[in-house]
């Protein structure tokens, strides 16, 4: 009998224990929240696909010793329905790591019936393993960009990060620079206006972008309701901002989803727009981030953003590897060729359970 099998509801306490151990959290304080998180994100979400399940590795003596999450997203390529799978997190109990359990889980997952596997939070070792299993680096998306909004606050943030060794330091100087930016240090966008991004408007927008992105998410209300609710619950320092940008004549031009954090960095999760409209949408992103107190905006590169970011002389920043695995050359070519709207919003990058959140 195989040691690898789909996650079952009865496994959730074991999976919670694995995750807590991996994070060095006290299990008693986080068990319920982690059980609820894994249930919501791996078993009960509207796009969960029993054919591409979260996988666990069950050791005959020690029980469930590893888990590889599965996040399936519905896409469309031209008119063909496509299943994009994003695996992660991969958690292996420390005692079983030397045995190669993680490698077996990855290989099993890649053998699944999904049309494309697209991972966006891949550490070096898993990246190397995935390449040997037939995966390929999603080069553009493996690089991050940064735009500095308030130089003084930005420099203070860099110094604080180096001094404290923390990725998210809070310093008075960053906060002060952020509040200056908030008070309108930035110029207004040249045109257009924004409104809250609702599920229906994002569905409509992505459909309008079909010529730019033959491969794109096939959003529906149920999935987006789940997605937006989950984005509000994740363990990310900062507030979620999601806006639709309309042209002055009311046409929807694009949208953005980002986290604006109290440590001064705004992280763009998705910027959806046809390439000619990206500069204006980016202006709104910057304006909004500055109003939220950010001193820097970051994201990962995607083809449709390149020209606008290049014009703004963005800095390069390190991000985790992005990886692709698939057997359909047309889909891989669509991603590598910039004809796919494949962003962090539809990946696993933002998915982090909040241990302090009460179980739902």
């Amino acid at each position: 009998m195989s040691a690898i099998r789909p996650l079952e509801r009865a496994d959730l306490p074991s999976v919670a224990a694995l995750y807590a151990d991996f994070m060095n959290w006290d299990l008693d304080g986080v068990r319920d929240a982690l059980v609820a998180y894994y249930a919501r994100t791996m078993l009960d979400h509207p796009s969960a696909d029993p054919e591409i399940p979260t996988l666990v590795y069950e050791d005959p003596q020690d029980g469930v010793v590893a888990v590889l999450g599965s996040n399936v997203r519905r896409f469309v390529h031209r008119d063909r329905a496509v299943r994009v799978a994003c695996d992660g997190p991969l958690i292996v109990h420390r005692a079983h790591r030397p045995r190669g359990v993680g490698a077996l889980l990855l290989r099993k997952y890649f053998e699944g019936p999904q049309d494309l596997t697209a991972d966006d939070r891949v550490i070096d070792q898993v990246h190397a393993m995935s390449l040997r299993l037939g995966g390929e680096t999603h080069g553009v998306a493996s690089l991050g960009w940064s735009l500095v909004l308030a130089p003084v606050g930005f420099v203070a943030g860099v110094i604080a990060r180096r001094a404290t060794g923390r990725e998210r330091p809070r310093t008075g100087l960053v906060a002060r620079a952020g509040s200056l930016a908030k008070r309108g240090g930035r110029t207004q966008p040249a045109s257009g206006r924004t409104e809250p991004l609702a599920a229906a408007t994002l569905i409509e927008l992505v459909e309008r972008l079909r010529r730019s992105f033959p491969l794109r998410p096939r959003y529906d209300e149920a999935h987006l309701s789940w997605l937006f609710a989950e984005l509000e619950r994740v363990n990310v320092d900062g507030s979620l901002v999601r806006r639709l940008v309309r042209a002055d004549d009311g046409r929807p031009l694009g949208s953005y989803v980002m986290f604006v954090a109290s440590h001064g960095i705004a992280e763009v999760v998705q910027l959806a727009a046809a390439e000619p409209d990206v500069p204006l949408v980016l202006e709104h992103v910057i304006h909004d981030a500055a109003r939220g107190g950010a001193v820097e905006v970051r994201g990962r590169f995607e083809h449709h953003l390149l020209a606008a970011l290049r014009r703004r002389r963005c800095r390069l920043v390190p991000v985790d590897w992005a990886l692709l695995h698939g057997r359909d050359p047309e889909l891989l070519a669509a991603v590598h060729g910039g004809r796919a709207l494949l962003t962090r919003l539809d990946g696993e990058w933002w998915m982090r359970p909040d241990p302090l959140q009460a179980a739902a």
Binding site: A3, R99, G100, Q125, R132
Partner: protein, 91 residues
């Protein structure tokens, strides 16, 4: 086991030992040396080894039936290969 079968089995173990040396860049002391216990293998090494064993011997290791406990030494790996492709690798 006939002498011919014994020779073939020994040859197979030697090929696996050579493969381990080439892939993992380590010398295996004996065919029964435990790669896990000796800290010679991790997830990345295992992936490399599986891939190279499949290429070298023209077999496909089913992950559903994969037993980590039988992939810990050159002798064990050779036995798995012999099972999956008995006509090609045994007399």
């Amino acid at each position: 086991m006939s002498q011919r079968a014994t020779d073939a089995a020994g040859e197979l173990v030697q090929r696996v030992t050579d493969l381990i040396r080439d892939v993992l860049q380590v010398e295996v002391a004996t065919p029964d040396a435990d790669l896990v216990a000796e800290g010679l293998i991790d997830s990345l090494a295992l992936v490399s080894l599986i891939t190279e064993v499949e290429l070298e011997f023209g077999i496909r290791l089913s992950i559903d039936e994969f037993d980590l406990g039988r992939f810990r030494s050159a002798a064990q790996i050779a036995a798995v290969v012999a099972e999956l492709a008995p006509n090609r690798h045994a007399a």
